[in-house]
């Protein structure tokens, strides 16, 4: 397995803090598919769409956007980032992703998560007090659907399945299911015990932020009898690839600060991240993937060395970055960053000959 690099988006509909323009949801869904198309053309490995049930995102139904992306692309893998599994019916999740898998000739993937936003719970009639139990049960059902058909199953949160035929089956027989982990020790440990690949979300902070999370994950996997060293880990983090180090920061900052203000509320109000704090997040020892081509290469390799990563998915366009800048960054990531990182990782892990 070689190192995979991808992008993801929430499909933000945010007023441009510089031009004052607000793109329409219609424009934003088309731009989202255009991003997938370009990512595919420049040879990126993964395209992800996050699930958010709010007016300032068009990503409430990621499977629909991924199905459209399937038609517009050829090679790139298509994943949710994440599917808020706790408030979904796993049968429906499977049916939709299996359909995307057929449409895309086997390119569908699922990152199942608990959800960092909670809007979906009241929308679909779930109780937040069942947060942990919901995820555990629904993940169990989803894994069993993947495993066998027909299926007999029973649980607490939905009617039992008796010899149920759940169709279609995946194009290649199976669909990769990752678990999205925000960094809490407990979710890393449960994911490790199940022997499932872990998609780690890192928002801000030191690049070493998840060292303990990864240790706990591998130790739990080992203890449960899985081959811990073989379990893939992916990192999802915000980023932007600019033409120069300075340009990258100047171009990303206003949008990122806007996105943070819209999504990171303190005392009930949005908090803008100060420029100095943003610049600190961009330094080599912190997690944010913003900078020149060379800076992103270096930081991805640091991530790889620290966590033994198989994959990095960079969230771009947070805060409603204009499509032109967004596309330029995708192009640099695919043509200038990804080939170097893949080659370097192969050299370091001695997999080139394999």
């Amino acid at each position: 397995m070689s190192f995979e690099i991808g992008i993801m988006t929430f499909g933000e509909v945010t007023r441009d803090p510089i031009s004052g323009e607000l793109s329409s949801p219609r424009q934003r869904v088309r731009e989202t598919i255009e991003q997938a198309q370009l990512a595919d053309q420049v040879g990126l490995d993964v395209f992800g769409v996050g699930e958010h049930h709010r007016g300032d995102f068009v990503g409430s139904a990621p499977t629909i956007l991924l199905a459209a992306a399937a038609q517009a692309t050829h090679d790139i893998r298509l994943t949710s980032s994440v599917t808020v599994l706790s408030s979904e019916d796993p049968v429906r999740v499977w049916e939709q992703f299996a359909s995307i898998d057929l449409l895309s000739a086997g390119r569908a993937e699922i990152i199942a998560g608990r959800g960092s936003y909670t809007e979906s719970f009241p929308l679909f009639g779930y109780d937040l007090t069942d947060y942990a139990d919901l995820f555990r049960e629904k993940l169990d059902l989803l894994l069993q659907i993947r495993e066998r058909n027909p299926l007999t199953w029973s649980g607490r949160f939905r009617a039992p399945l008796v010899n149920a035929d759940i169709a279609p089956r995946a194009d290649g027989g199976t669909i990769p299911i990752w678990v999205g982990v925000g960094g809490s020790p407990a979710s890393a440990i449960s994911t490790g015990r199940l022997g499932l690949p872990m998609a780690l979300a890192l928002l801000l902070g030191p690049i070493t932020f998840h060292e303990q999370t990864v240790e706990l994950y591998r130790a739990a996997a080992e203890q449960a009898g899985h081959d811990a060293a073989q379990l893939p880990i992916s990192i999802n983090t915000h980023g932007y690839v600019g033409r120069t180090s300075q340009k990258a920061r100047d171009e990303m900052y206003p949008y990122f600060a806007q996105g943070m203000a819209d999504n990171n509320h303190q005392r009930g109000a949005g908090m803008r991240i100060p420029r100095a704090a943003f610049d600190a997040q961009a330094t080599p020892r912190s997690g944010l993937l913003v900078g020149s081509t060379q800076e992103i290469i270096d930081k991805l390799l640091t991530y790889h060395d620290l966590y033994g990563l198989e994959r990095a998915i960079i969230q771009m366009g947070f805060g409603g970055m204009p499509q032109k800048l967004h596309l330029e960054a995708i192009e640099r990531l695919g043509t200038e960053v990804a080939p170097v990182v893949r080659r370097e990782v192969e050299l370091r892990t001695g997999r080139a000959a394999a």
Binding site: A132, R136, S184, S187
Partner: protein, 206 residues
């Protein structure tokens, strides 16, 4: 109704030789992380020493408990619970951190405990919180409370954050390690007391 000062503390060697562990649980929830943490400690303790466990959920003691301002006012069943806490061999004081401290009814329970009933009593402190930044509530809120009572709090207090749990199941091995360390001290102190008390009985019998 309170235990008279002159009365000797009940021997830690009861008839069935099991140690009476009493948990005062300050969580308002039926299924709680606080009890998830305590259950791990109780489980580990039972592998070290023979124990019987009595659990007091302060939020289940009823409205008459909540409105009682004097020990004389409490209903007989609440009196029984207060006595159980006062006569325990080991008291586990466990609470979630709410608004920077123990929960309201948790404190209310101890407001009704006799001033000297917990003197020299072995107390293990346990708390849960939304994040690690609440951990020192154990030292800055719980420990002074038992300092007032002149109780002997175990040197290591145990804390777990919400992220250490899947629901109410404690998963983080580092917290397990902390519990083991706390219990090693507790078991040592209890064993010393058992020893001292049986030696004393020996003297009486001779």
């Amino acid at each position: 109704m309170s235990t008279p000062l002159t009365e000797l503390p009940p021997s830690v060697v009861s008839d069935d030789a099991a140690l009476r562990v009493v948990v005062v649980n300050g969580s308002p929830h039926d299924k709680s992380k606080t009890m998830g943490l305590v259950d791990v400690a109780l489980d580990a303790l039972s592998t070290m020493l023979p124990t019987t466990v009595h659990r007091i959920d302060v939020y289940r003691l009823g409205p008459e408990f909540a409105t009682a301002t004097k020990r004389e006012d409490v209903a007989p069943d609440v009196e029984t619970e207060l006595l159980a806490a006062e006569t325990a061999d080991l008291l586990i004081a466990a609470t979630p951190v709410y608004r920077g401290s123990y929960t309201g009814l948790f404190k209310h329970f101890f407001d009704l405990v006799d001033q000297y009933a917990l003197a020299n009593k072995l107390v293990l402190l346990a708390a849960t919180g939304g994040g690690d930044h609440h951990a020192l509530a154990l030292e800055h809120a719980l420990r002074p409370l038992f300092g007032f009572f002149q109780a002997m709090t175990a040197p290591v207090a145990v804390f777990a954050s919400a992220g250490d749990f899947d629901g109410t199941t404690l998963l983080n091995p580092r917290v397990y390690g902390r519990i083991e360390m706390a219990l090693a001290d507790v078991a040592g102190l209890l064993a010393q007391r058992v020893h001292a008390s049986s030696a004393q009985e020996q003297v009486h019998h001779d």
